[in-house]
Every structure is written in C-alpha cells, then in structure tokens.
C-alpha cells in the first residue's frame, strides 16, 4: 500500500502503519497522521479498505491513532533510500527531543540538505512549505535543480 502523496513509499516505509490485526476474518488497521491536517489520511484509509476488500476481507476497520505523535524518525532506512532515489531529499534523524520550551529559530535553516541529484551540499531553501504539508522546496546551487525535502518533524 503506497502513500498517496509520496507514492515512492509504502505506508510501512513512511512509518504511518502502526498495526494490522486480524481476528475471525475481521481486519483492524491502525494508521497515524503525519500532520494534524494531513488530507492524505482519508485517502490512505480508503485505499486500505479497498485493497483489503479486494483481498477477500469483508470486514475492515481503519483506525487513526494520534498518540504517540508521528515523527520523521519513523521513516524506515529503506524509505529514506527510496526518497533519495526519487529525487526527494530525505529528512535527517532528529533523535530524542529535549523537554522544555521549543527553541526559537531565527536564522535561515542551517541544517545542510545535500542535493539528491548531484550530492552537492550547497543547497538553499526556497520555501519552507512545499506542495504537501510534509515537504519544503529547495534548490541546488551547483546543478541548479529545484528539489523537495521532507521536513524533519
């Protein structure tokens, strides 16, 4: 099952597929939204119901779980590789988050995002909010190609 907005990834690659339980022919799938307003969640649910019905399961329930909140750290290693191969810069790993107030970031993004096409580290952010909630738009200063970057969250 593929992500509607990042079709190079499966829902498992993206880390939004939490659990699949089958009991007496009834399947309960638990997924998690990437962003609170992610419109793809409904599309994912419909895709899952359709695929499971096609696979012969008449009773399918798709549950959406908010907690714990999704993070880009849940994208699998395989998922990161597939993103890179598709020309989308993958997020870096954030690791455990510090407690306390979220630090203010006034500087332009300092995290280096290498160009997924030529590998150059010299890239600039064009827009922090891209075509979908989860992506920013960047451009490589060496090969001049614009590319998308899955934002760390």
């Amino acid at each position: 099952m593929r992500d509607p907005e990042l079709p190079v990834l499966t829902l498992a690659d993206l880390g939004v597929l939490r659990e699949v339980v089958e009991r007496d022919g009834r399947v309960v799938v638990t997924i998690t939204p990437t962003y609170s307003g992610c419109p793809a969640v409904e599309e994912m649910g419909a895709d899952l119901r359709r695929a499971l019905r096609r696979a012969g399961f008449a009773e399918v329930e798709v549950r959406t779980s908010l907690h714990p909140a999704w993070t880009t750290d849940w994208i699998t290693e395989d998922g990161l590789r597939k993103l890179r191969e598709a020309g989308i810069a993958p997020p870096s790993r954030l690791g455990p988050r510090a407690a306390g107030p979220v630090p203010l970031n006034l500087a332009p993004p300092s995290r280096r995002v290498p160009c997924p096409r030529c590998g150059s580290p010299r890239t600039t952010e064009l827009s922090r909010f891209g075509a979908t909630a989860c992506k920013a738009l960047r451009r490589c200063e060496d090969c001049a190609e614009p590319f998308e970057h899955v934002k760390e969250i």
Binding site: R63, S65, L66, H67, V102, L104
Partner: protein, 299 residues
C-alpha cells in the same frame, strides 16, 4: 462506487464513505479512535467549553489564513499560509470532535463548526480580527498576528502535553511540532520585513501595533480554565515565556516592542465568553453560509 474498479480513480476515495460530509469529503468519522478517550473526572460542561476554546482558536485563525490563498505577495507564501491553515484546521477538527464527545449531545465537528452562532464561539479576539488581505491589515499585519498567536499557542500546547485529558495531551503533543514551524516562519518574516526596506519596516511596525492590544486577552484566564486544574493550562503563566520570545524576535528585526493599551472588554467579557468583535459575524457568515444553505450537502 465499485470496490473492484480496476482504474483506481483518485476521486473514488472521496466518495468512498456513505457518511462523507460535504465539508471535508472524508469519511474521517473516527478521528479520535486509538487515543485513550477516557474523560477525566471534571465538570463535563467545563471541559466541553475548554475544548471549544482551543478548537475555536485554531478554526477561526485557519479561516482567516485561508483568505490569503491566491492573494499572498508570492506563490510560495500562498502555499505556506495555506499549509499553516491546514495544520490549524486539522487541530481544530480533533478539538471540536473532542468537545462534541465530552458534551455528549450528539454534535460532531461539523455541527460545532457550522451550526453555532457567534455568541457560542469561544476563540480569542486575536484569531478573528481582520489583519489582511482585506481592510484591516496587509501581509505584515498577518505575519505579526501569526507571530503572536503561534508563540502563545506553542507555550500553551507545550504545557497541555501533560494534561489529564488524554485527547488534549495527544493533540497538543502533535500540534506542538507544527506550531514550531509556524512560529519560525512568522519570526523569520518579521526579521526580513523589520530589517528590510524603510517601507517594509514601517509596515511590520504598523502590523505589530495593530495586534498588540489583543495580547492581554491571551494571558487572561477565564473561570473555566481555572476550574480545570491539571486539565487546562492557566494562561497567566504563559506571559513571561511568550513575551521573551516576542522581545527576542523584535530585537533581531530592529523593531521596538509596541506599548499599546489592551483592547477594551465589554463588561469585563471577551472572546472566551462569546463576546466578539465586529469582524466575527462576517467571518462566520462566509464560513457557515454554504452548510446552512444546503444542510447535509456532500461533495
């Protein structure tokens, strides 16, 4: 639709659900499934009101930001403001769904968003005032509002993560990460405009002056918030953290902190009591008229 349709049209998903509401066309009918939904042992009317306060803040600002779509100074900003609006809408849906669930009167997110009258909305005035694109502001004013709102919300959600209401805690933990992006976006624009040309500086300064009178309300506790210790956040405790952030941004932007008197309250009441500014009626008319004209309409 035909479940075996081999073409897999992307539009099928939109009409897949019998109960898909027109507003979202989603069939997202169990948004709180999978979260611990136990209602803490507090007064249900109070908790419902508190969920409405939080939900209405997000919903109303989302509506305001959506007004910029196709009117922002550059395409990237159209996309950014729409993205921020979408995050807030997502938070609002969860919070209003929780309000309806705690209330137990059968009202869902749509009923609460589209069928309540002005006096039943509990959002702060800062979310509803006109800050552009129409009369009442411009892009800089909208950025000023977003800076103040997201700095305040971030501080509020960061404490709400420890709420005794498991749904509020989950929504806050998720929303916090989104708000951090919103605040950084607004802060970086404030610096660009404040530290830009004479004209951009003038506009950013005017924008801050426009929204500053609405700051005080953000830190004024409503009795409902004080009656829910452990569940709600006392907004008075957020003031110094938020003011520190705003001061830091203004310093970097070369802007003086405005010194503005708080906006007047009506007999001591404001947004949290359902007493709104003139702008609110127009906002609701635009947001609600389709649903009220065509009840139950679907995509």
């Amino acid at each position: 639709m035909n479940a075996d349709n081999a073409t897999d049209s992307v539009y099928d998903g939109l009409v897949d659900q019998e109960d898909a509401h027109w507003a979202f066309g989603t069939g997202f009918h169990e948004p709180l499934a999978g979260v611990d939904r136990a209602v803490p042992d507090v007064d249900r009317a109070d908790l419902t009101a508190y969920c409405l306060m939080l939900g209405d803040d997000a919903l109303v600002l989302s509506q305001r930001l959506a007004e910029w779509c196709s009117r922002a100074p550059e395409l990237e900003e159209d996309v950014a403001l729409a993205n921020i609006a979408l995050d807030l809408l997502g938070q609002a849906r969860l919070l209003l769904t929780r309000a309806g669930e705690v209330e137990g009167a059968g009202r869902d997110e749509d009923a609460l968003a589209y069928l309540r009258d002005e006096r039943e909305f509990r959002n702060v005035h800062l979310a509803e005032i006109e800050c552009g694109p129409f009369a009442g502001g411009d892009f800089a004013t909208t950025i000023a509002r977003l800076l103040v709102f997201s700095s305040w919300k971030l501080a509020q959600y960061s404490r709400l993560r420890g709420s005794a209401d498991p749904v509020l805690a989950a929504v806050a933990a998720k929303g916090l990460k989104e708000l951090a992006y919103h605040r950084d976006h607004a802060a970086q624009w404030t610096v660009r405009l404040g530290d830009g040309t004479e004209e951009s500086h003038r506009r950013m300064r005017a924008g801050l002056h426009r929204v500053w009178p609405f700051l005080d309300e953000l830190f004024t506790a409503h009795p409902v918030e004080l009656r829910l210790p452990g569940v709600a956040v006392d907004p008075a405790g957020l003031r110094s953290e938020v003011e520190d952030v705003l001061a830091e941004v203004c310093r970097a932007a070369g802007l003086e902190l405005p010194d503005a008197a708080p906006a007047a309250r009506v007999a001591g009441k404001a947004g949290r009591d359902g007493v709104h500014t003139e702008a609110m009626g127009y906002l609701l008319a635009e947001m609600q008229h389709l649903h009220r004209s065509l009840p139950g309409a679907k995509w």
